[in-house]
């Protein structure tokens, strides 16, 4: 059987409508007047869409200024994993939240510890840091910051029983066991389990402060989609996976931000981000790949902002398997690599060569150590002396996890293959699988030779040396008793100068023993619009409070 059939008129009508839509689309392209959009477009796009009345990123005319307001857009590679500042470990989420939430201590652009919500801080005892809070700080709901809020926030991170959350950030405040309000004072004591010379440094990098009563009166879903911090910007609109919009907080304890409205959105493709930048649709884009740098620099209205990051890339070698068990062989591998050429050609200069595990500018960095020179003869001779001439090696490398990781690995293997007495090849690995082997806690699960990266936002050598190089460290494939003793002693030394010296000695030992092929310090490469004054930071953060209009 058949149903009643539709009249052909409706099909013709359909085609008329479709044709009309196409014509309208063409017309829209011709007549799109951004100024008109900025004034006429509704302030709220409703569900499934999000359009700000001060649209900065989508009008296509590059004019982010409307009604005299200074509006800025930042485009990342990915959006957030929710808005709870204690329930994530990703840099992209961090950047979205650092506009709203702050810690008791902060860091300046060079990575040095600075005051935050605490106007004073001191290592009162080897295991106790006292934070004195400043007056006049308010949350975005208007309530005043209290010492109870600060103690609650730190305890919510380090203690699973506080604040309804088992925070994944507990490792970031390593050694800290609790925070207590000091009776009769506007201060908080942060207690560690034993001597903790790192406590102040950790609090400068981690530990966002939330309002205790706000957290306790809202469920996880609400906390992950709303915000109430003390920072320079307050949340005005949140569309998960798409964009976060902010307005400046006028009652901020410092001078209010120069930026009036801020939008953070994301585009996973680097070329899409660069297109948005050069078209004037956004003001800052992250992770500009080397091949796109010239396009940004050649545009009159954009520039590259590149800065050494806190991330080191290296080739780990397992000390317990041949040929890497031999010190001479490990050193030979370092001499075999033309690191300067890798930095200049593979990474287009957006990296620094390294010769020790600690990066320049960090506590414990040894300024007397240079990267290994490129010396093929020396490398071949050391291989012969090691007794492992003819060795065949396999370098396990992730692909796309770090800037040019595969290309770096291919270059390393290429140089080693230039030696007359060693052969090498690259094994491309899924990052999750490789990470599982590296972090299993059993050295026998680890590949013999691998490329990995490590970011350390604390600007302190110990947070690299302990997990990566001490015996039993979370990612360590090396064991050296002298090195362990130096790092342990540094961890138990309250005297800053003495500690610095011990860490320098540890770095010298690591250089000499060569547990890694020392590779590069990765740069953070951003594209920025000429309509903003902004400098990239070393700690991979983007603080919109530091953005101003060019004079």
């Amino acid at each position: 059987m058949t149903e009643d059939r539709q009249s052909p008129v409706s099909r013709r009508r359909y085609l008329q409508l479709a044709g009309g839509a196409a014509a309208t689309a063409a017309l829209a392209g011709c007549s799109g007047d951004s100024d008109e959009l900025n004034t006429d477009t509704p302030a709220d796009g409703g569900s499934g869409g999000n359009q700000s009345g001060n649209d900065t990123g989508s009008d296509g005319d590059g004019d982010n200024q409307s009604d005299g307001e200074f509006a800025v857009t930042i485009t990342q590679g990915q959006m957030d994993a929710g808005l709870d500042p204690h329930d994530h470990r990703e840099t992209n989420t961090d950047i979205i939240l650092m506009q709203i939430y702050e810690g008791t201590l902060d860091r300046n652009r060079e990575g040095q510890v600075a005051e935050g919500l605490a106007e004073n801080y001191e290592q009162a005892e080897p295991n106790r840091v006292r934070l004195t809070l400043r007056e006049g700080v308010t949350f975005h709901n208007g309530d005043e910051l209290t010492p109870e809020d600060v103690a609650f926030s730190i305890n919510r991170i380090v203690n699973n029983d506080v604040g309804g959350l088992a925070s994944p950030q507990s490792d970031q405040l390593a050694g800290i066991t609790e925070a207590q309000v000091v009776d009769g004072e506007r201060a908080v004591d942060v207690i560690s389990d034993g001597v903790n010379p790192m406590a102040i440094g950790l609090l400068a990098s981690y530990g966002d402060v939330m309002q205790k009563s706000w957290v306790e009166s809202n469920d996880s879903s609400y906390i992950n989609s709303h915000a109430n911090g003390t920072g320079p910007f307050q949340l005005s609109n949140y569309t998960q996976d798409e964009s976060v919009e902010y307005t400046k907080y006028e009652d901020y304890w410092r001078e209010p931000a120069e930026v009036d409205t801020l939008t953070i959105n994301a585009a996973s493709e680097s070329s899409t981000r660069v297109n948005q930048l050069v078209s004037g649709e956004t003001d800052i884009v992250e992770n500009v790949p080397p091949q796109e740098v010239s396009r940004v620099n050649s545009n009159d209205n954009t520039r590259i902002e590149a800065v050494p990051s806190t991330r080191i890339i290296y080739n780990g070698m397992r000390y317990d398997v041949e040929p890497f068990s031999n010190r001479k062989f490990r050193r030979a591998m370092n001499y075999a690599i033309d690191l300067e050429t890798i930095v200049s050609e593979v990474l287009s200069g957006f990296s620094d060569a390294t010769g020790q595990p600690t990066l320049e500018g960090f506590t414990g960095y040894n300024p007397d150590i240079d990267p290994y020179p490129y010396d093929v003869e020396q490398a071949e001779q050391l291989v012969e002396e090691s007794g492992f001439a003819g060795a065949t090696l396999e370098l396990h490398t992730p692909v796309g996890r770090y800037l040019k990781d595969l290309e770096i690995s291919q270059a390393v293997v290429g140089y080693i293959n230039e030696l007359s007495n060693v052969e090498a090849e690259v094994n491309q690995r899924d990052f999750g699988e490789l990470a599982a082997q590296l972090t299993s806690g059993n050295i026998e699960d680890m590949p013999h030779w691998y490329l990995i990266g490590w970011g350390n936002e604390t600007f302190d050598a110990s947070q690299t040396l302990i997990p990566l190089l001490t015996t039993g460290g979370a990612l360590s494939s090396w064991s050296n008793e002298e090195f362990d003793n130096l790092v342990n002693e540094a961890g138990n030394t309250a005297d800053a100068d003495q500690r610095e010296q011990l860490l320098r000695e540890a770095n010298q030992l690591a250089h000499d023993e060569a547990p890694w092929i020392f590779l590069n310090r990765q740069y953070s490469v951003y594209g920025a619009s000429s309509r903003i004054d902004w400098q990239a930071r070393r700690d991979e953060s983007i603080k919109a409070y530091e953005i101003s209009q060019p004079q």
Binding site: A18, G45, A474
Partner: protein, 328 residues
Amino acid sequence: MSFAQFIIKRSLQGIFVVWGVVTVVFLLRFSTPGDPVNFIAPLDASPELRQRIAEELGLNQPLYVQYLDYLAGLLAGDMGYSYISGTEAATRIFARVPATVELAVAATVVAIVISIPLGVVSATRRNEPADYVATTFSLTGISTPNFWLGIMLVLVFAVQLNFLPTSRRPIGFAPAMGYLFSGNSAGIILWLQHITLPAITLGTYFTALVTRLTRSGMLDELGKSYVDAARAKGLPETLVRYKHALRNTLIPVITVLGLQLGTLIGGAVITEAVFAWPGLGTLVINSINTRDWPLIQGCLIVIGSSFVLVNIVVDALYAYVNPQVVYD
């Protein structure tokens, strides 16, 4: 078999197909390298933290328990929770559906508006310049990878000419229409500006395909004896071509259009990535990058289900358009 019985039968078959999709997608997770815990936990996470994450996500349960839990959840409309953000997967996924459907429908509209007239002109002016232009266009369209086309369109129309925006979807179709009905046209213009390049990118291959299909179908129909009879009766040529020949040509075209709509919903991944279009495709890519399996599974199930649904609708429409079809 009645039309209603036909629809019920196809729907039941569809349910089994979707169950198959759910099972395959679920098993895919266990044949794919990379433990989700290693993507969630930082590199230096302690074994205790890893264990805690695995327990919270139910990843320490036996496979069959996880599978049955997942099926039971699905029946209750629960697709689980995102490993990364902890939010409801279904909410995240269905929030993305409008963007993908808008793009797929817009690409289909682009294809229909261009391809059918082009195919007809090409067939009725066979071996004339218009035919050569149309066949060259369709060959080029079929041969052009859409990621390349998308990038080129952006470079020319957005970056160089500053004529259209490069990417993003600042407003959805529904709210834009809402504002239009209340007298504000800025929203719909903004929507059109943003969807034009992605729709052309996604629709070009489809346009070329339907142009060729329409051309060959029209040539076939125009050669049949009923067309000669119509002409002999003295019917105007326009009526012969568009009322009779084109109408019969459109039957297979409708089938392809429907099937292709399903393909477009699932196949817009690259286009969405190039244009930062917040649809299912970008959610799939981002979720794969972070091994966020509840989101990956949910997206694939929604895409698979929509394909099944579109097929059922096409079958029904096909029978509706062509009275010679017998339900069995």
